[in-house]
Subunit: 348 residues, 2 copies
């Protein structure tokens, strides 16, 4: 039995409480300064407002002021903040980390630093003060996982990746249980890029759903599924290419982190709803408004990828006609262009 | 403008009439001896009974007795019979083929000949009499394509594969149009194995849909999608492994023929409905009965794969624990075992 602190009380961070409790651990869920309502509700014994479920009995919630005390006796720390919260998390955790203390994170995103595409486990480590960083290698958790299913006891397989194989193994041993099946990968860059890009590409796979409705088609087995699946296959191909450009293993795009996570993300989440809206042709602003304030990771990722693609093209590393789908998705979602997936340039 | 004869008036064979007509060709759809009702209906000016649409004006239908006359002036021949109809098609076409005459086929399936897994373009060629076979290399059409969408003008990308690159290019030039986008692949074995196996694996991806209903879950964004997507990723991994064992290029499993076709097959067709029934736990016989006589390619493919897996394992080419998903699908669909996808042995 271990004592695990989860920092960040959003959907996925909180959902980690279930496999941890199943594995016999106790959990302290520390909200960020933005999670006040969640923490208050859980402390009143109410269901977690975002998951609609009461936390497992082995889990409690607390505000950020209790992070210090919670970490004092912790056997592992999980980071579940939003990508924008990484600097805050690094600052809050500085001094509480040590090389032998398992540290894992479910936050997904990418950073373009002007010359390379960086992933968030590295960004978290690099955001730590020098003294706190020594020997700390965060382990990323990726792969197909809908938080609401994890919290409801659905069987789930994820990928753990990190630069220290020993740290990955410690996290795997901590998390593995009857319903939760973590697999290890050494390809940090590849796994994390797929985990981030899948949001952009899931948007693309949802475009034909809206396009079909806009032309009067009904949902069902006859729609624009042929186009959807061509986009799906092209998305996997482009993810592999981006991973390769960033120095990762293209094979990650063909496994749980790529194909698997892309597939699960197409199952009715906010990215798919946003893509459907864009496919309906309502335009970017109304599509965003229709999502009523939901975080749209796809927009963040497309914005990060833009300077990366420009730099790779300027250097000759990437051809002008490569990644036509990603170019189109950026044009639609960032520049409000009319959705018209460029199938003629797929697999060219 | 070319004159194209399509042999076999089933869903997919008939649907080829649309891209061919779009590309400016005329089509004669020759029914097999089993297609009498379809041919009669089309000749009476009624909609194609299986597609629910009238054929394009450039297409006519005729019974098998008119095959000889139709082929006399043909510029290309397409084979759209069922896999069981390949010997009949070979016999009917013997003497009407020549090396320069484009010959393509949408029939999918595999044959285990006791020592190797063979695909249907090769089986068709081998079924021709010696004199008729010389220089004839059928081109297979694979990839994500729902026939009913193709016939309704949905954009579609497919893969063409064959042992003669010149033959593949002739077929590509014949078929390519504004809405229909064929891509060429030299990996006949890999593409054709994926095209056949996708039916078996799509069955597996549908199991959790029924399992979720059986435990009282509703359809929607919270179900057993995490399990479905783990199965999807494992399916792609296993398809790549089978392709490798058969001497093909595992990369085909990661593209249109593998990932793309698997994705489209999960969109509500009969394989998915059969998998859902099995997932509900009604048992094999009732699941087959619920499909009311629909052809279940997944059962054919699982039956063909069984002796292949046994032989590969006996020779040591395949480990006992490899392909756990395919083993489970055969146990469920052929032996009536209880569905319980062995996620613990995925990506092991």
């Amino acid at each position: 039995m271990a004592r695990v602190v989860i920092v960040g009380a959003g959907m996925m961070g909180s959902a980690l409480a279930w496999p941890l409790a199943d594995a016999g651990h106790t959990v302290t869920l520390i909200g960020t300064p933005l999670d006040g309502e969640v923490v208050d509700a859980v402390r009143r014994g109410e269901p977690h407002p975002k998951l609609g479920l009461r936390l497992p009995s082995a889990a409690t919630a607390a505000p950020p002021t209790e992070l210090e005390a919670a970490c004092r006796g912790a056997d592992a720390i999980a980071v579940g903040v939003s990508s924008a919260g990484i600097p805050w998390a690094a600052s809050a955790l500085a001094g509480k980390l040590r090389p032998s203390l398992p540290l894992f994170m479910i936050t997904k995103g990418l950073v373009w630093n002007g010359h390379a595409l960086c992933c968030l486990p590295d960004a978290l480590r690099d955001a730590l003060p020098d003294a706190a960083r020594l020997g700390v290698e965060p382990v990323g958790v990726a792969g197909p996982c809908i938080a609401g299913e994890l919290a409801r006891g659905a069987e789930t397989m994820v990928v753990l990746t990190g630069r220290d194989p020993g740290a990955v193994e410690r996290v795997r041993a901590l998390l593995a249980g009857k319903l939760y099946h973590p697999r290890a990968s050494a390809d940090v860059i590849g796994v994390e890029i797929c985990a981030a890009l899948k949001n952009a590409y899931a948007l693309g796979i949802a475009l034909p759903i809206g396009m079909n409705e806009a032309r009067g088609g009904s949902t069902g087995s006859i729609g624009l599924h042929n186009l959807e699946s061509a986009i799906f296959a092209q998305a996997v191909r482009e993810m592999a290419r981006v991973v390769q450009l960033a120095g990762g293993d293209p094979g990650s795009a063909y496994g749980l982190a790529g194909v698997g996570d892309l597939d699960v993300t197409c199952n009715g989440g906010r990215t798919g709803r946003f893509g459907r809206q864009l496919g309906l042709g309502v335009g970017r602003d109304r599509a965003i408004a229709a999502l009523a304030g939901a975080t749209l990771e796809c927009l963040e990722i497309l914005a990060v990828m833009r300077p990366a693609l420009s730099a790779w093209r300027a250097s000759g590393a990437l051809g002008a006609g490569e990644l036509p789908l990603l170019d189109h998705l950026a044009a639609v979602a960032l520049d409000d262009e009319t959705p018209a997936p460029p199938i003629g340039s797929f697999f060219a």
